[in-house]
């Protein structure tokens, strides 16, 4: 009995190692997700891109993902787990994974890392992000046109540069339509809590906002705006299902082309550390159809989109004036430099609120 068990165990071990050998031929690619893949927003879009990647290169690669990984030190273990499982290219898909990713990258120089929306890089750690502020600018134009009360409601997640530059782009655009436009900003201090996002939307509408914009991940705010007969913009993904008469447009994250390109580079052995920051011109994101608005507003949006794509319109065209009334130093020639936008930590003039931590 004992012998046959031993034989069986040996057999299983052999089978196991054979399985591992054939899997080793394929490149292992890992993903770390912030939310659940069913969040219908940020994580969902990364998951769609992963699926597209598998469809395109499925015979050459094997992908793994870990969802619901909290930002901060906990992420380090999750990333290391993917490294130990043999993943050679790892995408960490949220800003808060920046330091953990860097730490693991230093520890494993032979593994390549791709960190979304951060600014720290290394020999084996790239960063990638999208110029969403371009989309926010278009939304600002639409919002100012559609708002009757002249008050926009903005739900922020955390006061990080990506979110702050989005708010500034929105208000700068809105001011070109209505110089007296007001924006009320509520920080949810979370990326994902449908209940809290809904409460924030309710509070904004109760305080007079009639167009709701969000930089949090769930469709809760869209749903509330729809219930109250107001307008709203989706976030990250198509949310029109939650507000067929409410959604004006949505910024859609389209990561698939980038993921496919980077994995191909890894397969060819040409991968190197880069900083990719693409906008409408390089299809890092797209705008959902312009809906629920009159044709003239739609035209304004489409024209702006074309101008931004062609590089003729820059949301942060100098002079940009800060809240204190002083012009922001213009380091990028005619526009603010990329670095100034990536590290944006001030509100522009016209926002009568205080940026948290300032």
């Amino acid at each position: 009995m004992r012998k046959s068990l031993l034989a069986l165990a040996t057999g299983l071990l052999l089978a196991g190692s054979i399985g591992a050998a054939s899997a080793a031929d394929k490149l292992k690619v890992g993903f770390i997700y912030l939310g659940p893949i069913g969040d219908l927003g940020w994580t969902y879009q990364h998951e769609l891109a992963r699926q597209a990647l598998v469809k395109e290169l499925g015979d050459k690669i094997e992908t793994t993902y870990l969802e619901n990984v909290p930002e901060g030190p906990d992420a380090e273990r999750a990333i290391e787990q993917l490294v130990r499982a043999g993943n050679k290219l790892i995408f960490t898909t949220s800003f808060g994974y920046m330091d953990p990713t860097l730490k693991v990258a230093k520890k494993y120089p032979n593994v390549h890392f791709e960190h979304a929306t951060g600014y720290k890089r290394d020999k084996n750690m790239s960063t990638y992000s999208a110029k969403w502020y371009q989309g926010r600018y278009i939304q600002g134009l639409i919002a100012a046109k559609m708002s009757k009360s002249g008050v926009l409601g903005y739900i922020g997640s955390f006061p990080i540069p990506e979110v702050v530059s989005g708010i500034n782009a929105t208000i700068l655009a809105a001011q070109t339509i209505n110089p007296n436009i007001k924006v009320k900003i509520i920080w949810a201090n979370t990326w994902f809590d449908p209940g809290k996002e809904a409460d924030a939307a309710k509070a904004l509408i109760d305080q007079g906002a009639d167009v709701i914009m969000q930089h949090t991940d769930s469709p809760a705010a869209m749903q509330i705006a729809s219930e109250r007969g107001k307008f709203a913009f989706g976030q990250d993904s198509e949310m029109i299902k939650f507000g067929p008469k409410t959604q004006l447009t949505s910024i859609l994250d389209t990561w698939a082309p980038y993921y496919i390109e980077r994995v191909k580079a890894e397969l060819d052995g040409t991968w190197k550390s880069e900083d990719s920051w693409g906008g409408l011109d390089s299809h890092m994101f797209a705008m959902a159809p312009y809906t629920n608005m009159p044709d003239d507003v739609k035209k304004i949006a489409e024209d702006a989109q074309a101008a931004i794509t062609a590089g003729k319109l820059h949301p942060f065209k100098c002079p940009v004036v800060g809240q204190d009334g002083k012009e922001i130093e213009c380091k990028g020639g005619a526009n603010l430099a990329d670095g100034q936008i990536l590290g944006m930590n001030f509100y522009v003039k016209g926002i009568d609120d205080k940026l948290p931590g300032k």
Binding site: L40, G195, K202, A203, A220, Q223, K354, G357
Partner: protein, 305 residues
């Protein structure tokens, strides 16, 4: 003035799931069992509740699904922690992790679907009274039920013999056992009640609060419910105050931001938790003879035969 009414309405909606879940946990803890799995039971209740309502088109059926799902989850806990006398803290934490995973699995089929949320009461005349009409006569059924529930629990705990026996099990299970009461059976029932409440509280989220299901949508409310029970020092009356206070701070901090009051939002978000800590400290300072917590809370009981 309309703004005040709107704020009160939001506060009631935000507080109700906390109140329902905490009521259940209060009864569980009063019987001497610490079930840290509230978050897990809630999220499974949310998934099943939404599923039930989506399949049948009935909010009521959805709520029943949530209650049954929460109860089944709590039975897993009862089997482990009471039947097999496994450590309650570990079992409760495991139940939460299980619930989060399980709800994603159950809910995978209907992520992105919509339902019509629970209807709000409308009594012509009364509901239209300015300021108080919608607050008193325009809520959804869950809000009224949650208040009836906590009153019922208060009456049960302090005005019935069965309630006295349940509290006895929580304070001294050896004595209760010596008097011939079936301690484990009573505790199992209390755990099931806690599960049913957590399931219903979870179901409230997709049925009335944000009418869609998304994995992880409870977002820590189960943990807040646990903290509320401590905040209330295991008393139903204080639980109501605690739940509404918590809801009020949550909503008011959002409004304060909209108004541009210069208090950091991070600090406002932390306020309710800070309050819990302060209350705990005050309670332990003011303790006059005996603890406020059920004396046998969280201890394993294996009857000698």
């Amino acid at each position: 003035m309309e703004l005040v009414e709107a704020i009160v309405l939001s506060v009631l909606a935000a507080s109700t799931p906390l109140l329902i879940a905490a009521t259940g946990e209060l009864v569980t803890e009063r019987s001497g069992v610490l079930n840290l799995g509230v978050e897990g039971m809630m999220i499974v209740g949310a998934a099943c509740g939404f599923g039930g309502a989506w399949l049948t088109g009935s909010i009521f059926v959805g709520a029943l699904f949530g209650i049954v799902a929460g109860t089944l989850m709590s039975l897993i806990f009862a089997l482990m922690a009471l039947g097999l006398a496994v450590n309650q803290v570990a079992t409760g934490l495991a139940l939460t992790i299980l619930g989060v995973g399980l709800s994603g699995l159950i809910g995978a089929g209907f992520v992105g679907e919509r339902i019509t949320p629970a209807a709000h009461l409308h009594i012509p005349g009364l509901t239209d009274v300015p300021l108080v009409g919608r607050v008193l006569f325009g809520e959804d059924a869950f809000v009224y039920f949650s208040l009836a529930l906590i009153i019922g629990v208060w009456w049960f705990l302090y005005r019935t013999r069965a309630g006295l026996i349940l509290r006895a099990c929580g304070d001294n299970h050896v004595s209760a056992h010596a008097l011939g009461y079936p301690v484990l059976r009573i505790r199992t029932l209390a755990v099931m009640f806690g599960g049913a409440c957590a399931g219903l509280a979870g179901a409230y989220l997709p049925l009335a609060y944000t009418p869609f299901f998304i994995p992880g949508m409870t977002a820590g409310r189960g943990w807040i419910a646990l903290a509320l029970v401590v905040f209330a020092s295991w008393r139903p009356g204080r639980l109501v105050i605690g739940a509404y206070l918590f809801g009020a701070v949550t909503i008011l901090q959002l409004h304060a931001q909209g108004w541009g009051v210069g208090i950091p939002s991070q600090f406002m978000s932390a306020l309710p938790y800070l309050a819990t800590v302060i209350v705990l400290v005050l309670l332990s300072r003011a303790r006059t003879g005996g603890s406020t917590a059920p004396a046998a809370l969280g201890t394993v009981f294996v009857p000698d035969r």
